[in-house]
């Protein structure tokens, strides 16, 4: 990857889990990264144990965490679109795709990272994936490269092994920092890392996995 990178996800922390190492590598090359985060994850349900926040305060915390994570990853162009968590699938898909298209025309990315439709588990992820793919589909041959994040249980059975695996072993400490910045969401995960108890978690810190989409 040698050009601008555009990252589109619906929730603060989606980018850290799926792509932090790839983003960090990109920034280390001095290449621009734009991150559009559609919501503030307002409807997350972890309020801490002991309780440290409320439904109404959570978006403030998650916004702060998102900004901190972006600092960790070197992202200077963060855009928060102010949609509401859980409602992305009920927005007008064509309109959302149009906004993504305008964004692509502005940022002129070489590569777009987002979720892969059909294998992204959460309804907001799926809606984001559909609108991103729709925007890219409509661009025909002028479309940037697309790297889709898929983590449904069916993924490897149906899509096979990831088409692109980015080795982020050297960036794993920084990736951990980015995840750690989203503390309201990742405290349990971080305990798992500390105990090195979970192979899935260790894999997450060393390799980032993406799929190409079969555009027609």
């Amino acid at each position: 990857m040698n050009g601008p990178l555009l990252v589109i996800f619906p929730h603060p922390d989606d980018e850290a889990f799926s792509s932090a190492g790839t983003i960090i590598q990109h920034r280390q090359k001095g290449l621009p990264v734009t991150y559009v985060c559609l919501t503030l994850g307002e409807m997350g349900r972890n309020m801490g144990s002991p309780i440290f926040t409320t439904r109404e305060e959570l978006p403030k915390i998650r916004k702060h965490e998102l900004e901190e994570a972006c600092r960790m990853m070197g992202i200077e162009d963060l855009r928060m679109w102010g949609l509401r968590d859980k409602t992305v699938e009920f927005e007008d898909e064509a309109e959302l795709a149009g906004r993504f298209r305008a964004l692509i025309d502005e940022v002129k990315p070489e590569t777009v990272i987002s979720f892969y439709p059909g294998y992204a588990v959460h309804p907001d992820h799926e809606a984001t994936a559909r609108a991103v793919v729709r925007a890219l589909q409509e661009m025909g041959e002028t479309r940037p490269k697309f790297l889709g994040v898929a983590f449904d249980r069916r993924t490897e059975d149906e899509l096979g092994q990831p088409h692109v695996i980015v080795d982020v072993t050297e960036e794993s400490e920084q990736k951990k920092d980015a995840l750690f910045a989203h503390r309201s969401q990742t405290e349990g995960l971080l305990r798992a890392i500390d105990n090195a108890e979970n192979a899935h978690v260790m894999e997450l810190l060393q390799r980032e996995r993406f799929y190409h989409y079969p555009f027609s």
């Binding site: 409807m43 309020m47 926040t53 439904r55 109404e56 978006p59 916004k63 102010g82 949609l83 509401r84």
Partner: protein, 135 residues
């Protein structure tokens, strides 16, 4: 870092004191109010356990008025509001926070995960772009 979060987040979340809640409810009879009502099992409940039937709902900034508002139970608590044309009911409430005319009631499980919520205010609760810009 955690200190920073605490200073931004609410530090006033307390276990429900029924008298305190009842006092608020009595004071807001026949008052136009905005409510956020929610129940949730978390977005990943079925991903984590394919046999789990996930269900949830929220409604944000519905406008209501009630003629009777009561909190009942010994904890977790239930709140019922008798509306002009029906009822608003939430069960499983454990914690609360109050700021002037705003009452936030929430039900948390043992891991601190929100299970239900009932927020009441005399003005609309923050929403969408205003949340991004003003915080």
């Amino acid at each position: 870092m955690f200190r920073v979060i605490l200073s931004i987040g609410g530090t006033d979340v307390k276990a429900i004191q029924p008298d305190h809640i009842q006092h608020y409810l009595d004071n807001h009879v026949a008052t136009p109010l905005f409510v956020h009502v929610e129940t949730t099992n978390g977005a990943y409940a079925t991903h984590n356990d394919p046999d789990f039937h996930n269900a949830g709902m929220f409604i944000r900034n519905a406008k209501i008025e009630y003629s009777i508002g009561q909190i009942k139970g010994n904890g977790p608590y239930r709140v019922g509001l008798k509306l002009d044309h029906g009822w608003l009911y939430v069960e499983g409430l454990t914690d609360y926070e109050m700021h002037e005319e705003q009452l936030l009631l929430a039900g948390h499980d043992r891991l601190g995960r929100l299970a239900c919520a009932l927020h009441i205010d005399i003005k609309p609760l923050p929403q969408g772009a205003s949340e991004v810009e003003n915080q």
